[in-house]
């Protein structure tokens, strides 16, 4: 792969990755949000695949396949299954911040991400590290979704967006994180999602719905 093509493909994948995060902010139907999340997983796998092609690393190709399997297939399917069981609540009814304000917030978050990650890019400027701010933007947008959405499933998507962003930064900075750790991280994410899914089911059993406004028993 020649250098120009590599940079273009990397930017394309990173752009799709960022766009998917913004789309999650824009749409309110949960089924659409989950599909957008799957697209983002594919874009993340794309980033890893481009890096693998650039470095001619068989290990990275395998990791890209793993990312595609986990983040574009397994996690979305788990989420969709949870949604199918959710019954009436198929839409994010009343986010704490409305859509246009959310999109503005995304713009502000992007600028913050670029400002904060300047030392990271400066440490070793390269096409890959120049995409770090995009990963950080996705982390911040994920955090924003987590804080401002009320439906349990949208919060879960927010958490997973954060995690996608962190994983992207991980691959963009180095491919040198030990394999044990990478495996452990993926397993932990999978388990966290399973735990949250079980809790969503229990919440529905005890609260009737998964709107977090119902969670008001515990406070001071």
């Amino acid at each position: 792969m020649n250098e120009t093509l590599y940079v273009q493909l990397l930017n394309l994948a990173a752009g799709a990755f960022l766009l998917a995060a913004v789309l999650v902010l824009w749409r309110r139907e949960l089924a659409v949000i989950i599909r957008v999340f799957a697209v983002q997983g594919a874009a993340l796998a794309g980033i890893v695949a481009v890096l693998a092609g650039h470095e001619h690393s068989a290990e990275l190709w395998a990791v890209a396949a793993g990312v595609l399997l986990l983040r574009a297939t397994v996690l979305p399917v788990l989420l969709l299954r949870a949604l199918a069981g959710a019954g009436t609540a198929q839409r994010e009814t009343a986010p704490l911040v409305n859509v246009s304000a959310s999109l503005l917030a995304a713009a502000v978050l992007t600028m913050i991400a670029y400002a904060v990650s300047k030392p990271l890019v400066d440490l070793a400027p390269s096409p890959a590290t120049r995409a770090i701010p995009i990963g950080l933007t996705v982390v911040l947008i994920g955090l924003f979704v987590l804080v401002t959405r009320r439906h349990a499933l949208s919060q879960l998507v927010g958490f997973l967006l954060m995690d996608n962003g962190i994983t992207a930064i991980g691959f963009l900075t180095t491919s040198g994180v030990p394999l044990v750790v990478e495996l452990g991280v993926s397993l932990d994410v999978l388990f966290a999602v399973l735990v949250l899914q079980i809790l969503t089911t229990r919440m529905r059993a005890t609260f009737g719905d998964t709107d977090l406004d119902e969670l008001r028993e515990l406070h001071d």
Partner: protein, 498 residues
Amino acid sequence: MITVLILAPILLPAAGSVLYGLLGWRRPTTWLGTACAAGLLAAGIALSIVVSVDGAYTAAGGLLRVDALAAFMLIVIGAIALLATAASPAYLDAELHSGRMSTRAAGRHSLLVQAFLAAMALAVLAANLGVVWVAVEATTIVTAFLVGQGRSRAAVEAAWKYVVICSVGIALALLGLIVLNYASSRTSAPAGLDWVRLAASAPELSPGVTRIAVALLVIGFGTKVGLAPLHAWLPDAHSQAPAPVSALMSGVLLAVAFSAILRIKVIADAALGPGFVRTLLLVMALATLTVATSLLLAQRDYKRMLAYHSMEHMGLLALGTAAGSRLAIAAVLLHVLGHGLAKAVLFLGTGRVLQLTGTRLVAEVRGLAAREPVLAGLLGLGVLALLGFPPFSLFASELGIFRAGYAGGTAWATSIALVLVLVITAALFSHAGHMLLGNPPPGVLAEGPGAATAPARTAAGTTITLAGGLVVCAALGIAAGPLTHLLSLAADILTGTP
């Protein structure tokens, strides 16, 4: 031989967990958990003797490493796990009797508690910060089920909050680790995330990048410690979990996450100088103390009261770590053990109170001393221990933390903290006084959903466990004995003075 000793603290509870999975909760397995915890404690003591004599050891292909800090943390985990698991059979029996828990649920509870212990042992023994992260996240996943065990609205809500907030916090820590790994990959000898090599190559790390990494790591692991700003899960989770689990979460889990911060501080101090982490920890410590004080004052639920009180102690640990001298670190570590023991005693004791009275409200538990003199006496002593009265070890360690604070250039923060601690002491005194003293309200024994069916007398096992915890805590306050050497070794490692 030493490899076996290093593996034992992880494998023993893991095996216990598997056995509970296969056999469930029945007569032969009643004391299995206690045996595993005792084994963990014994391995911890043996390892501390080994590291006191020979220094650190690595095992399992460099993945596990035991040094003075790890050995001390194993003793903390083992001691408090022994208390919690020794009180568990009586607690579970009472729950089974009252029908609040099925035999299957009791088996699952024991399985998860053992898995929880194994994950914590791995977190303190791991040589690689990445593995530490995986183990800490694993504790979140395991304990989420333990918190949500009650399946009541409040329990499910607490579990949800717990997983979401802790996962976000720990995700920030992961981002910090990735950034740290990036910084270390640009040094002359890339160390990955291996703590010893990172600490050795820390002066070469790029300060700008390391600053971002350290801030994320301290806030991220600080979430698990219960330090502000991401502390909101703590009172809910600690108050909703079953008593033995509350004891473990409050007494050990917070401390295990705190030991990760201690290790990060070593790297940060070498790369950035001591100022950065000190400022960060001071701000978090004071914020935590303020939150804990304001919410403790008017607290009506006694388990939440204890949970906020744990936050206060974590704030003190952060304060002592910010001071950062050898005395401060040794005092912080002693405080970890003393707080763990006293808090475990109190959570186990109040768990019994909850079974007896069926209420969580301070106002509805009056005159406990008249009905359960032994239990009330132990709880009273536990409160005194927790508030730092001599002879208990918290007196010595709090004194050490405050002295180090005044000597180490953080005098203003230490003064604010002292005032807040005084307010908390007064608040806890008055709440505990309400619960333990006075006349019991008429007809109180018949009240509450669990009251009628719970065995009337507190099991001897529980009494002995609680008393044992208090005696050890007091003994440590009078003479730390052989621990002194271990503590000073750990303080040497953490202050970077060989």
